[in-house]
Symmetry: C2
Subunit: 196 residues, 2 copies
């Protein structure tokens, strides 16, 4: 049910939430109550800067967890908004901290999860550093970022919807992507002429 380390927790450390589209699971600044698991639906983590720019930090879909890093903060650093009707499980912060102190294997699994998250963010950062919209979009698709709507995708890769649509079309025209349907694109199968 829950991913690897959390499935061993007692049921009364979990709260099941049912959210409509647009509902907030938590808001930037709220005191941290725990970390979350998406049973179904789609929860988007966004952060708003002083200047009012909204940034998609993470796009959690079914079987993803989010707000894992909040374990050691007193308040959340971003908004969690359901972009689809969603079932979300909250895992109590207290319960995790207690268990972490008693169970080394549990603790190790959590650490591993965090380490992987760090690498994910680094990947995203690398992606954002690519200046060319076409190259960026190609890379992002190759890396599997385009699973939901293009609008969501655009926010994640740091481009406007329009720029993404254009890049997707151009890349399809160039044969670097295959258009598999309305708003659906897949990386073109690599020609194996890479050998030296």
């Amino acid at each position: 049910m829950l991913p690897s380390p959390f499935d061993t927790l007692d049921v009364n450390s979990l709260s099941h939430l049912r959210c409509a589209q647009g509902d907030h699971v938590f808001r930037q600044g709220d005191p941290t109550k725990g970390i979350f698991f998406v049973k179904s639906g789609n929860v988007c983590l966004t952060r708003v800067t002083e200047s009012g720019n909204a940034v998609t930090i993470h796009n959690a879909r079914a079987d993803d967890m989010f707000a894992e890093a909040s374990m050691y903060s007193n308040h959340y650093h971003c908004d969690a908004v359901c972009v689809a009707p969603s079932e979300v499980v909250r895992v109590s912060k207290q319960a995790i901290q207690l268990r972490q102190r008693e169970d080394a294997t549990f603790s190790e699994a959590i650490t591993k999860r965090l380490a992987m998250q760090v690498q994910d963010y680094r990947q995203l950062l690398t992606l954002h550093a690519v200046k060319s919209a076409n190259e960026r979009v190609l890379l992002a698709v190759a890396v599997g970022k385009l699973t939901g709507s293009v609008t969501q995708f655009a926010s994640q890769v740091g481009l406007t919807r329009e720029a993404c649509y254009r890049a997707l079309r151009e890349l399809s025209d160039q044969g670097l992507l295959i258009k598999t349907g309305r708003g659906r694109y897949a990386p073109a199968p690599q020609k194996e002429d890479r050998r030296p």
Copy 2:
């Protein structure tokens, strides 16, 4: 000497390295041998994308650690290059993993470090999402990113040197930054008219 959790490790799990400017501590793809601490100098973590773009992932200076997330990877995901003559301490991956299994407090401290790193990356991601060069630079300076050279700074915030210099000058002209010297800028003291 070493930061909080690592100072309790046995000395023979540490290797002291002395690096010249330009030396690689490790390269993208190398098998992971451990995590690192900068005693003095400056080590830059960069990643090169397929398209040849170099991205500064992290700029570790004296008393910083780097490659913490590599604990659970078999190979490094970026290059670590000394941008100044540096003294670096390598902390053996094996020793950490062993200790983690025996000492819950140690383990917890590591987890906390990783969680904070995740939040740092999120901050950087938020920064990169600000479109206006001036706003971005102002935010970055406010957050304390401009400590070394503007060139390094530019790479971290995702702008060209030139764009940074221009933004820095314009912000100084507007009185939002104070030029404290050649290539040195500080945030202007906030006027306290924020109260509602």
